[in-house]
């Protein structure tokens, strides 16, 4: 267990020697890391570095070839359903129902996680007010803009107050203002005690994370606070750190 995790009094995610192979291709090559409860953990890497593969394993959507993965205190391979109850997940592809209204989506996912209708209504009102989406409550989701959809998808992912929320490139294709609002949402969730595990291609966003890991060709090439990474790499920005690691020449 690393220092940050110890300080937080326990790890939300613990990964030991995680390996995932597809035939002869190794997508994740002996990953070792842990994420502390309440932490905002950035999971960076170039396209094809193996981020999505790893995130799917952490969420129980995919089984590892070998290694041990513990999420919210449960071994994912053995108790995937226990893990699923305690996590939220926001996929790279928008995956709420476009042919349902905003509220119908909220109600559906609330009910799936066992919330009562009165709790669903209360939290729905609260989050719609927060997102300024109250007027759109009964609009079909397909008619909303991408920015709104992403913010809503995040709110739905944490509707059941999970221990950990996994965000797979939540801000790709979203304008800078919405990105900013999105990160405000993330901070708010973290303040409420939800651990945030986020992948992104925007390196300015990496600065918002408490710790960052950078994956290169299936391995974790660096893992530390943004500040420490910049110092180690003698770089001005995370952008530089990233480029030095992923393109050493």
């Amino acid at each position: 267990m690393d220092a940050a995790a110890q300080r937080a009094g326990g790890a939300a995610i613990r990964v030991e020697d995680l390996v995932k192979r597809f035939g002869s291709f190794t997508a994740n090559d002996r990953l070792n890391f842990s994420v502390a409860s309440g932490e905002i953990f950035g999971f960076l890497g170039a396209n094809g570095a193996g981020k999505t593969t790893a995130i799917k394993i952490l969420c129980g959507l995919s089984a590892p070839t070998s290694g041990r993965v513990e999420v919210a205190g449960y071994d994912v391979a053995r108790y995937p359903e226990q893990v699923k109850r305690r996590i939220g997940y926001m996929s790279q592809h928008f995956s709420l129902y476009n042919d349902l209204t905003v509220y119908e989506n909220i109600r559906l996912f609330g009910a799936i996680y066992g919330l009562s209708l009165s709790v669903i209504r209360e939290r729905s009102d609260q989050l719609l007010r927060r997102l300024d989406l109250k007027e759109q409550r009964n609009r079909l989701l397909g008619t909303l803009s991408l920015g709104w959809k992403q913010k809503l998808a995040f709110s739905v992912a944490i509707l059941h107050r999970p221990h950990i929320v996994f965000l797979d490139e939540p801000t790709s294709g979203v304008d800078p203002i919405t990105r900013r609002q999105f990160w405000e949402q993330i901070y708010q969730a973290a303040n409420e005690g939800i651990t945030v595990f986020v992948t992104t291609h925007y390196l300015d966003e990496a600065e918002y994370c408490q710790r960052v890991s950078i994956m290169v060709e299936g391995r974790i090439a660096a893992l530390d606070t943004p500040k420490a990474l910049k110092e180690q790499g003698r770089s001005e920005s995370m952008n530089e750190v990233f480029l030095k690691l992923t393109r050493p020449n």
Partner: protein, 369 residues
Amino acid sequence: MRMLLFLLQKEFLQVLRNKLFLRLLLVLPVVQLLVLVHAATMDMKNLQIVVCDLDHSPLSRRLTATLDASPFFDLLDPPPTVDEGKGALETGAADLLLVVPANFERSMQRGQVQALQLMADAINAQQAQLGYVYLQKTTAQLLSDARFETSGRAWNPAVEVTSSFWYNPELNYKYFMFPGILVILVSVVGMFLTAMNLVREKEMGTIEQMNVSPVPKPVFIAAKLLPFWFIGLMELALGLLIGRLVYGVPMVGSPLLVFGLAAVYLVALLALGLLLSSFSTSQQQVTFVSYFFLLVFILMSGIFTSAENMPEWGQRLNVINPIFYFMDIMRSILLKGAGLADLWRQAASLAALAVGLMILAVRTYRKTV
């Protein structure tokens, strides 16, 4: 249970929002039942016949006139020679060629054996055979009449076979075809819709959000199956209504039994649809695979021809064919008034298929990729 209700609510909302879908569900059965029942008729009428009369006697002319008057035959212009008559058969202008030999009448009057020659275009074997039977009956009747007139004595063949047709006394082919077409309709709608619905979620990526949630597999599968099970039963009701109003198809047996067994049948068929969609990643794939299964099952089900006439191995294959059982069930209940006591074997087989396919469908559905 509560989760299932919310998932069902979601499925029904989605189905009801798809306007094209709803229209299709209404239009499809109406069109299919109105058109196909007629198209698939095997009532034999208007067979094109040419008579090559080499006798030119009163009797041969009387034979020709009788054929002309029959609703089964359309008499074409007589050819001058037998060869030209054969030509008409070859070009397809005629279905049957009857050659009346010279001295036909005289040999009959002398009590000698007469022979008529019939040639039939047997590409459609069933039509050729039926034409032959019709023609034989017509000539036999005519000859018997003619003898009676000349000799004053009835010409009595040793044994006369008379027949009566049970359950469908008028041999109304539509009564036979209608339940078959209805079974196809319910099956096609149910299986395609179920299979495509699940694969669509895969294509849209929404299934990921489900798979990462704590929805148990049986609940998810049930939520995917029940809406189309319900739609299938509605289609069946609509179809039976059309059958009653348009064709006057009888419902001799219990409607309750029809729906009860249809409910079991649909579980089996839709579970098969879900099973196939577990192996598919796109709607095209699942459509193609479902089409293959449906086509084989339908053609083996005995819709057009009796399944008992199939070779032994084909009949063994039918053990796993849900459509085969349901086809039999529908016809037996509607036309014969069969009860559960008569159909328990089919019912038990369907139930076994339903349970087996459901277990397979739940097992093969993976929440992991």
